[in-house]
Amino acid sequence: MNALQKFAGLALVASLFVTGCASDVKLEDKAAPVETRSPVGGAGSGATANGTSQSQVASVDLSKSNTAAVTQARVVYFDLDSYVVKDEYRPLLEAQAKQLAADRNKKLSVEGHTDERGGSEYNLALGQKRAQAVAKVLTVLGANDSQVEAVSFGKERPAVQGSDEAAWAKNRRAELNVH
């Protein structure tokens, strides 16, 4: 048996490859729960009449859909490994709670953040803990639980760049945002 016959006997698996169609995705409508996708024939080099690439990855682009409306942030800073809201922030939080008590339709998001050290998921949970500490103070001071949502960005959105204690101290924080 020569080599070519041998090859013919070996499974030509690749010729049986079948996958979904290639499509590129652009997300234009922020409110839509499911994006509209229009086939644009992205990595077209792979798509031939006889075989569709198994390496095809469709791209979703959110960059044009999100204009993160950042309102003026009020910030509570935390000590290292601490989730205690320091007394110096009491006036700030009292004022915020008062506004929420005056207008029960008003909502506030408390975003917890950590410094850059450690894992992203554990830091996300630590940031959540900070946000919840602030949210708790707000409710004790008169806000309704339903008006305040504690969320976290963990270490993903530092306020300042840098890998020293000065930068870390500015990043261990909770931001109060009215959306």
């Binding site: 070996l10 682009d61 959540q128 976290s152 993903e156």
Partner: protein, 426 residues
């Protein structure tokens, strides 16, 4: 033990052939370390591969070298799968194994990649492969040939044709990328102005779950890779994060803070019927299923600092499984359930560790680096991929379980984080 670093361009360049190099010339391989036994394998340039955009032989060689099982033997031989090799000559070059192959362009534009493997020592043929692929799958064909060789020699499935997911950040743009297991051929699955973390492959390899902050909070999504169709898995009050698929792909574990602190829940594959699994007054996060699907490993700071615990998926008591050090996170369990890779803080350094579960053995650090993150096992359990920093840049690395053979996969000016090794199949 001595160290060596092989820094090569394409095989064609290494072989000194004066050919006009196509686009594959930038494919660089950096593999360091020496294993106890590495089989020397010669892989001459495939006939006509210079007519394609990929250096097929170089891709196969790099794949095999990353495994730690093989060592490439430089050669400028011109041959293909139909050649009758002169075994004494190859023995003289200290090659135990020889691969010959060719790449042929078919009339319809596809490529026919053929390869044959010989045992030089015994002087016999070990089999061959022929793969017909569209141009975009030429790298995949090379990886499949490497898988074929790996399995022929080791008896285990190769992982070279699998894929990885990772996240890059360049300026204010985050991208969830999917690439070949060697870090090349990356394609963007999701572009976003907000962070993306924690990609998790569905066992089918067709879907990725991940955490996106596009709504100004952490929400878990799943996305079909070939169509780009996304669906929301968990968007409860508070943060929703750390998705992990059950081995059967029918459910997901995730961390939700809807009832207060971060706790672990298990839900259906569309996020339906979330059921709380952990019940602590502390942070519980980073769940991963055991390979049998019966238990969850997770990180909790219920004892003070973060440590790794195991609990039944049905709930109940948790048993601590990390003991050394006061900061242990990001567990990954080998497919056979025998090993756990994780990140441990030692002094100020975050290092990749490996421990044998339930064996009473001491955990071992696998790296010399100090910013290791996000370990995940290859689906055959023989390699671990992780992110770290090297010479001031973010890189993705693979290492063998003994830490002896390391390869640098992706190194760009952009931040590269959150790697996750996908399953067999695509």
């Amino acid at each position: 033990m001595h160290n060596m670093t092989m820094n090569r361009r394409t095989f064609a360049a290494a072989s000194g052939l004066a050919l006009a190099l196509p686009a594959h010339a930038q494919f660089r391989v950096e593999i360091s370390g020496v294993g106890a036994t590495q089989l020397p394998i010669a892989i001459p340039r495939f006939r006509d591969e210079e007519k394609t955009p990929q250096g097929v032989a170089a891709i196969i060689r790099a794949d095999l070298e990353r495994s730690g099982v093989f060592r490439g033997v430089d050669t400028v031989a011109l041959m293909d799968e139909t050649t009758v090799p002169q075994m004494p000559e190859w023995r003289q070059k200290s090659a135990d194994l020889l691969v010959g192959g060719s790449v042929m362009r078919l009339a319809d534009g596809r490529f026919d990649v053929r390869a044959k493997l010989w045992d030089v020592v015994k002087g016999r043929e070990l089999g061959g492969q022929s793969l017909v692929v569209p141009p975009a799958d030429l790298r995949l064909a090379a990886h499949r040939v490497a898988d074929f060789i790996y399995e022929k020699i080791t008896g285990e499935k190769g992982v070279f044709s699998t894929r990885i997911a990772y996240v890059t950040r360049s300026g204010k743009t985050y991208a969830l990328r999917i690439a070949d297991a060697d870090g090349e051929g990356g394609q963007v699955a999701l572009n976003s102005p907000e962070p993306i973390i924690s990609p998790a492959w569905a066992p089918s390899g067709h879907e990725l779950a991940y955490v996106s902050f596009e709504r100004q909070k952490a929400v878990v999504y799943a996305q079909d890779i070939s169509s780009g169709k996304r669906r929301e898995i968990a968007n409860f009050r508070g943060s929703n994060s750390a998705p992990a698929w059950s081995p059967d792909g029918q459910s997901l574990a995730a961390t939700l803070s809807r009832d207060g602190l971060a706790q672990i829940y298990v839900m259906g594959r569309n996020g339906e019927n979330p059921r709380r699994v952990t019940n602590s007054q502390a942070i519980d996060t980073e769940p991963v299923f055991s390979p049998d699907g019966h238990s969850l490993f997770f990180v909790s700071d219920r004892g003070g600092g973060p440590q790794i615990y195991r609990t039944a998926v049905s709930g109940g008591n948790a048993e601590r499984v990390s003991f050394t050090g006061n900061y242990n996170i990001s567990p990954s369990i080998s497919p056979d359930g025998r090993y756990m890779a994780y990140i441990s803080r030692q002094g100020g350094a975050f290092k990749l560790y490996l421990t044998e579960l339930g064996a009473g053995a001491s955990p071992r650090a696998l790296t010399e680096s100090s910013d290791d993150e996000s370990p995940s096992f290859s689906p055959n359990g023989r390699l671990i991929m992780y992110a770290t920093r090297s010479q001031g840049r973010d890189v993705l690395m693979t290492t063998t379980l003994d830490g002896k053979i390391k390869a640098k996969l992706v190194s760009t000016a952009a931040d590269v984080r959150e790697p996750m090794w996908g399953p067999f199949g695509r």
